[in-house]
């Protein structure tokens, strides 16, 4: 059986009714969706919710995707927007419920990373990332983890390259201070 791997073909196949093609697309991108959401939100449950939301958007809206950009960029944009919206929503909820800004420790999901040492390092880094303001965190994650250029980030976020660079430098400096402070 010839397994289609090209995004264009998979999308066309799915739109003509082949759900199996959607499954391939979902499996191909689900991990990247998770990691972006997880790094932005700092919480497994939230990241998991975002994955489910993005898959739903893909399933319902792939017919509007016109291949003017890569499928990954389209999915990434949805993921980034959804993650930011959830951050805003949680901030509002905290404001109206007078809850503290304290980050809730992830529990019960440590085993999503099998390697113990990597897990520990990841959790430490996640804590630092969560200390960054959202705008700085976003550009830091997009540059360092998702390998986007400033131009690509600018196209996705609508922010000027100058602003993105300034945010990135601030983020980098803060991350360095945090790691220095925590005896890395």
């Amino acid at each position: 059986m010839n397994v289609k791997t090209d995004d264009y073909e998979l999308v066309r196949d799915f739109l003509s009714g082949n759900e199996q093609s959607f499954n391939i697309l979902a499996r191909k991108y689900q991990e990247r969706i998770y990691w972006h959401a997880r790094r932005m939100l700092g919480d497994h449950d939230d990241a998991h919710d975002i994955v489910q939301q993005v898959l739903l958007v893909m399933h319902n809206k792939l017919n509007t995707f016109n291949f003017s950009s890569s499928l990954y960029t389209w999915i990434y944009k949805i993921t980034a927007t959804r993650s930011l919206n959830l951050i805003k929503k949680k901030k509002l909820t905290r404001l109206f419920t007078f809850s503290s800004d304290e980050i809730v420790e992830n529990s019960g999901y440590e085993n999503i990373i099998d390697d113990i040492e990597s897990r520990e390092r990841f959790l430490k880094m996640e804590k630092h990332l969560n200390s960054l303001p959202v705008k700085q965190r976003q550009v830091f994650v997009m540059r360092n983890y998702d390998d986007f250029s400033y131009e690509e980030i600018s196209n996705m976020t609508g922010k000027s390259i100058g602003t993105l660079k300034a945010n990135y430098f601030h983020a980098f400096r803060k991350m360095k201070e945090l790691m220095e402070k925590n005896d890395y």
Binding site: Q30, Q52, N111, M175
Partner: protein
């Protein structure tokens, strides 16, 4: 360019060849700069190492079945969510009514007043102004000047009231005036205005 920015730009490969060379020379000559650079590099490397993290395959395998199950489920009517929307809609509706009511009331009163004043002729407007000022103004002007002997005689003449009689019966002039009709007050007022009696007074 600050040292931090220089280091970051070096790591991010954003310096020109000349700037890179200059930075490397500076780093060779400065222990502090080298130390700072090492910390920044560690941040970059640590981020890079964590980029390749793999999720537990069991978790990854659970994502799609969960999504498929959600697709199969009919959309559940959420009482809590719909009550929330209903409450929000009602609040917006009530607020809109209150705001619109105030807005239209204010506008109607203003419009009515404008229409009313525009409908009056000049004499009617003067009359209206007089009424708005009230007769109190006339009384005040007269009673302020009551102690002037000339005024007293004027009152005596006009009101045909003897000052001594008034004093005997302990009648104050303002009491007499308050009992007068509008026309009588107007008559006295005009006489006072036409006389020279009030020239020095603050009319």
């Amino acid at each position: 360019m600050t040292t931090d920015v220089r280091i970051i730009k070096y790591i991010e490969n954003e310096l020109s060849p000349q700037e890179r060379n200059a930075f490397e020379v500076d780093m060779n000559n400065s222990v502090e700069l080298r130390k700072e650079f090492e910390i920044y590099l560690r941040v970059k490397k640590e981020t890079g190492n964590l980029k390749e993290l793999k999720l537990n395959p069991r978790y990854l395998d659970s994502i799609l079945p969960e999504f498929r199950n959600k697709l199969k489920l009919p959309r559940i009517f959420s009482v809590k969510r719909n009550l929330g929307y209903a409450f929000g809609a009602m609040l917006v509706f009530i607020l809109s009514i209150v705001v619109l009511k105030n807005f239209f009331n204010a506008k109607t009163e203003l419009t009515d007043l404008q229409e009313f004043t525009q409908s009056l002729n000049e004499n009617q407007r003067i009359e209206l102004l007089k009424n708005l000022n009230g007769d109190q103004g006339v009384y005040e002007i007269i009673s302020d000047s009551l102690y002037k002997p000339e005024l007293i005689s004027l009152f005596e003449t006009n009101l045909k009231v003897n000052n001594e009689v008034a004093e005997t019966y302990d009648i104050e002039y303002h009491e007499i005036i308050s009992g007068l009709s509008k026309d009588e007050v107007e008559l006295i007022y005009n006489e006072i205005l036409n006389s020279d009696l009030l020239k020095e007074d603050a009319l």
